[in-house]
Amino acid sequence: MNLKKVLTPDAVWIDLKADSKQEIIELMVDRLVAAGKVQDRDTVLTAVLEREAKMSTGMQNGVAIPHGKTDAVQSLVVAVGICKTGVKFDSMDGSPCTLFIMTLSPVKRSGPHIQFLAEISRLISQPAEREKLLAAKTSGEMYEILIRK
């Protein structure tokens, strides 16, 4: 799957700034609202935070995958963001997270959700690709790296 199918340039941000898990998730949801991809901000936010409360989605090597299932979205919504200063995210290896991949999908209906996760995890599991993403200077440049394959 080409990430281009689900990822649009207005949902790739290089300039996220936040100090906590709550803040970064709120910021990403707000930006999705601003991009017109999410209407019901509060429901979406609750879904993501509820999932986060069960177990942190902070993985290793500074990657976090906050996500939620909610009928406030009609189809898969994805966003990728970088917060260069790092955010404490209760991640598995204890290190702060810098790369955030957010997915929102409807509760019942399945879609390209799994292919998206498969594709993006394949990309960011390669250290060289992660470095490239973090070194990107603009959101446009980062988007290009993401959709290149």
Binding site: K54, S110, I114, Q115, L117, A118, S121, R122, S125
Partner: protein, 562 residues
């Protein structure tokens, strides 16, 4: 050899005529005949089941081989021909050159229809369409090679009276060596945890193609053999016509079946009783089997198509489940009867031919399936594994050989040769396949970097029940995400999970849940399993809100003897 052919051709007719004549002439005779049949069935069922068990338990071989061996042992050419029952005569006697009476052969035919109906029902048509490229090349390669070598082996073998590629007997020897019986391979792949490996995925996809193409090839060959048997000359124009008719029948009936399956099942469902629904579906498969035979094809083709058509409806699982009991009793009868037909005295002159035919059957699948695999993305090791995985022949080869014998197209010698090939390939495949999986990756170097290495995710839970519960939930979650989840008939509950280029296996081994997944897909498997684990935690949390269990218990007890 031709004499034997003629004798075999008329055997069924004679036996049928004899039956009706006997029934007409005296009321006692039919009771007498049925008594004989019932005693035969009793011996067959008991011996076949015990034979199957012994082979599986002590020789670690598929039970089919044990059932075949029991048949050889109790058949008219061995013990059966020596046991004399008072007032009935021999337990199993040869009747006009045919080892089974018409009524016994009728039951075996019914078993073969059930077998193919269920095979069609279990076909993963969606995966078949999705994995068509790799699967079709591997399946088609094996089919062409096996057919050509099987047919040519008969043509070039001196002194058997077969001298043309188009000779019906040669065509049958070709088609007998085509159908792979992937059940044995699937079991080994599951045991070796290699089902999710690129080789495993390719073998299983190839086998589906092999089944479908095999049935179409059989349809064409049956058509050609019938023209040729009735004295007609089969020229290329005719072959084209027969092939078009066979493929047309397959495609049209399967498409109609798939299109209307849901409507038909919706109509049948109005009966509201699963037993009635399942019985009607089985009746429909018999109907299509009969129609296929009327159209000049074979009955099993119709049965397979009906199964295929129903495989995508929600009834598939119910039908499988309900027919399981019938299958377990009738299908061993079929294999046992096939074993009974092996006449050892006519086998001696054809032993050398049988050995060469069997070697070619091995060679043709290894090369025919291995070569396309090698040309795509596998190295020599991987291609060999795929070739060996497609090696075992089984049920379909036996059914086709049975049809050939009953219709007089092949004689008992060639029938014995077919059984010999089936037994040899089935026995050789497991050890060779296990050995071939020693060593490294089967992918070419450049492909291997793309994450072909298999990773094992293992989790142990406090009890089997919890593991089973989680496996079932995980399967449902995967289905909701539009994965194809295919349940494999192995000792331990094993599922093959597919979606686009994601493939992995899920297995329950006692308290353990085991996932074998190529490195490239491991993230997805892990993430989805994590979500299920979390939902299990939610569920456990919610049970705490339940009323105190002691209290609920005493509520129940208090009403008991009030």
């Amino acid at each position: 050899m031709q004499d034997v052919q003629l004798a075999a051709t008329s055997a069924i007719h004679h036996a049928g005529e004899a039956a009706s004549h006997a029934a007409e002439s005296s009321g006692h005779s039919i009771t007498h005949m049925m008594m004989h049949l019932i005693l035969q069935l009793a011996v067959i069922i008991i011996c076949a089941k015990i034979g199957g068990y012994l082979f599986q338990r002590f020789l670690k071989m598929p039970s089919v081989l044990g059932e075949l061996a029991s048949g050889m042992l109790i058949g008219p050419y061995a013990l059966g021909g020596m046991i004399n029952i008072p007032n009935l005569g021999l337990l199993f006697a040869e009747q006009q050159g045919f080892a089974a009476s018409a009524e016994l052969y009728g039951i075996a035919t019914l078993a073969s229809i059930i077998l193919l109906f269920l095979a069609g029902l279990e076909t993963d048509l969606a995966a078949f369409l999705r994995y068509s490229i790799v699967g079709s090349f591997v399946g088609l390669g094996g089919l062409i090679a096996a057919f050509a070598f099987g047919d040519l082996c008969a043509v070039y073998w001196p002194g058997n009276g077969i001298d043309s590629f188009m000779d019906p007997a040669a065509l049958f020897l070709g088609v007998i060596s085509v159908a792979t019986s992937v059940g044995i391979t699937a079991r080994i792949l599951a045991e070796k945890r290699k089902m999710a490996s690129p080789e495993g995925v390719t073998i299983l996809a190839g086998a589906v193609f092999d089944d479908v193409f095999g049935i179409v090839t059989l349809a064409i060959v049956m058509g050609m053999a019938k023209v040729s048997m009735s004295g007609g000359v089969v020229n290329w124009g005719e072959i084209g016509l027969i092939a078009a008719k066979a493929i047309g029948f397959f495609v049209v009936v399967t498409s109609l079946g798939l299109i209307f399956a849901r409507k038909i099942t919706a109509a049948i469902k109005k009966f509201k009783s699963t037993e009635i629904i399942v019985a009607i579906c089985f009746g429909l498969s018999l109907l299509l089997a009969g129609l296929a035979e009327m159209a000049g094809l074979a009955m099993i083709i119709g049965a397979y198509i009906m199964g295929l058509a129903l495989s995508r409806t929600d009834l598939a699982h119910e039908i499988e489940h309900h027919l399981e009991g019938v299958y377990n009793i009738l299908v061993p009868i079929f294999f046992c009867v096939m074993g009974m037909m092996v006449d050892f005295s006519v086998m001696k002159p054809v032993l050398a031919f049988g050995a060469v035919y069997s070697i070619l059957a091995i060679f043709s699948k290894v090369v025919g399936c291995g070569l396309p695999a090698y040309l795509m993305k596998f190295n020599m090791r991987g291609s060999l594994r795929i070739g060996l995985g497609m090696l075992p022949r089984g049920e379909v080869a036996l059914i086709v050989a049975g049809i050939g014998l009953a219709s007089g197209i092949i004689d008992q010698g060639i029938f014995g040769v077919s059984i010999m090939m089936t037994v040899i390939t089935t026995m050789l495949a497991p050890p060779l396949l296990v050995k071939s999986f020693d060593g490294g990756s089967g992918l070419r170097k450049e492909m291997d970097d793309m994450g072909g290495e298999i990773e094992t995710i293992e989790m142990e839970f406090p009890s089997r029940d919890i593991t089973e519960f989680l496996v079932n939930r995980f399967v449902r979650a995967l289905q909701n995400e539009e994965f194809f989840v295919h349940h494999l008939h192995t000792d331990k509950p094993t599922y093959r999970v597919l979606k686009d280029d994601i493939a992995f296996t899920l297995m329950q081994d006692g308290k353990k849940l085991i996932i074998n997944v190529p490195n490239a897909n491991q993230h997805v498997a892990r993430m989805m399993l994590l979500e299920e684990l979390l939902s299990l935690t939610d569920l456990l949390e919610s049970t705490k809100q339940m009323k105190n269990v002691d209290e609920m218990g005493s509520d129940l007890m208090s009403g008991m003897f009030a």
